[in-house]
């Protein structure tokens, strides 16, 4: 317990979290501090590329086993399942319309890659190893939740979803999924020697760039919170805090079931607990235009993301450690 407290405190006072807090505070105080769109996108391309390569190299190094296939399927199942739980909870806990509830639920079934990156930074700092292919699991979990949400809508008839084949290609070929999977493949092919050539770029500055990126996310989250005061409160707010705990519990069970390591289980919890704010928002705008994007985004980025960053990650790690031993 004490160790967990220390870990939480350490985590809270890490440059990564403090950078996010700085951004959040600056935006709430209405500072004009802002990152150009191109710089934010550039940082996210860098992070996806670097994390993909690292994952692929880890797989290349440790050899490959059936576990990868099982983990991918397990991740996809989690991503497809969580929206149903989320949707049911939202219908009970909040007054959101069917469309809005389905859109929010899709975000929570999918994953937030920055939360994943922050968690793997914490694991690295603690010297806890994890399966390199968790990056591929993250990529595999991006899309199934969208399918579930669209199916929910079509069943409930809550205002026709605009699906179609086009949409599916778009989701599967979403830039962030392609970059993550592609970089993973590159890492796998080039292996440790290939990575050594570009290590000074993809490893050394990684954490620093993550800080700046989280500073920007803090700014965007703060701006979102400021503008949608009122829409996210009461039941909706509570959902943003409870849903990650439910997701993490499911992730824990599945991780134990398929026999992931301590690090891998923690990351699966983090993935299940996190909510998307890149791939799913775009897909929802296309498929469910009637859903209010501000609700999902504020909840995912303004509530669940900071919750996971500050409390969630150390909590999930502590629970996993208590069960799996360290």
């Amino acid at each position: 317990m004490q160790a967990m407290m220390e870990l939480a405190a350490d985590n809270l006072l890490s440059p990564i979290i403090l950078s996010f807090v700085l951004g959040l505070v600056a935006a709430l105080a209405r500072s004009d501090l802002a990152f150009p769109e191109a710089v934010a996108k550039g940082m996210s391309l860098y992070l996806l590329f670097a994390i993909g390569i690292k994952g692929g190299v880890a797989v290349a190094g440790n050899g490959m086993d059936m576990q990868l296939g099982v983990s991918l399927l397990a991740g996809m199942a989690l991503s497809a399942l969580i929206p149903f739980i989320g949707f049911a909870m939202l219908r009970v806990m909040t007054r959101l319309s069917v469309v809005d509830a389905a859109a929010v639920a899709a975000h929570y079934g999918s994953i937030s890659i920055v939360t994943f990156v922050a968690a793997s930074s914490v694991l690295d700092a603690q010297g806890i190893v994890f399966e390199g292919y968790m990056v591929a699991v993250a990529a595999a979990m991006e899309a199934p939740a969208i399918l579930s949400a669209l199916w929910l809508i079509s069943r409930k008839g809550g205002g026709g979803a605009d699906g179609g084949g086009h949409l599916w290609r778009e989701i599967m070929l979403n830039g962030s999924i392609v970059l993550l999977v592609g970089a993973f493949a590159i890492g796998w092919i080039v292996g440790p020697e290939g990575k050594a050539e570009i290590d000074a770029f993809i490893t050394a500055p990684f954490k620093g760039i993550l800080c700046l990126f989280l500073l920007d996310m803090g700014l965007v989250a703060g701006r979102g919170l400021r503008q949608s005061r009122g829409e996210v409160r009461g039941g909706v707010l509570a959902f943003g805090l409870i849903m990650p705990l439910i997701g993490a519990s499911l992730g824990l069970m599945v991780g134990l079931l398929i026999g992931l390591s301590l690090g891998g289980t923690t990351l699966l919890m983090v993935l299940s607990a996190s909510a998307s704010y890149i791939a799913v928002p775009a897909a929802m705008r296309v498929a469910l235009p009637a859903a209010n994007p501000a609700i999902s985004l504020t909840l995912a980025l303004g509530v669940t993301f900071p919750f996971n960053l500050t409390i969630g990650i150390p909590l999930y790690l502590a629970v996993a450690t208590a069960i799996l031993g360290s």
Binding site: P36, E37, A40, S44, Q227, R285, V286
Partner: protein, 102 residues
């Protein structure tokens, strides 16, 4: 200089819909269009800004110059896309040179 009557259609629409809109415009026989970036704005769905955003968020402005007689089919094609989406369509009278291009 000899000028010809034309219409300037300006469609402000979510960036995720850009591809669908321009495909619809081309299907409707539009010979050209220009896409301008949008930094931010406000409407019934609140204020937004592109600053610091990742992903294909925000809106774009698609400007289309066409001959007056093609307006109706363009608007129908555009509306099929825009209809259920956040967006604004405006049509102004304008004049162009080299009318054979439009």
């Amino acid at each position: 200089m000899q000028m010809h009557e034309a219409k300037r259609v300006e469609i402000i629409i979510e960036a995720v819909m850009e591809g669908r809109l321009t495909a619809a415009l081309q299907k409707a026989g539009v010979t050209g269009y220009t896409v301008l970036p949008v930094m931010g704005g406000a409407g019934r769905s609140g204020e937004w800004s592109r600053e610091g955003q990742i992903g294909r968020s925000g809106m774009v402005a698609v400007v289309c110059l066409i001959r007056p007689e093609r307006l109706e089919s363009l608007l129908e094609a555009a509306f099929a896309v825009v209809e259920r989406h956040i967006g604004v369509v405006s049509v102004s009278d304008t004049k162009v040179v080299r009318a054979e291009r439009f």
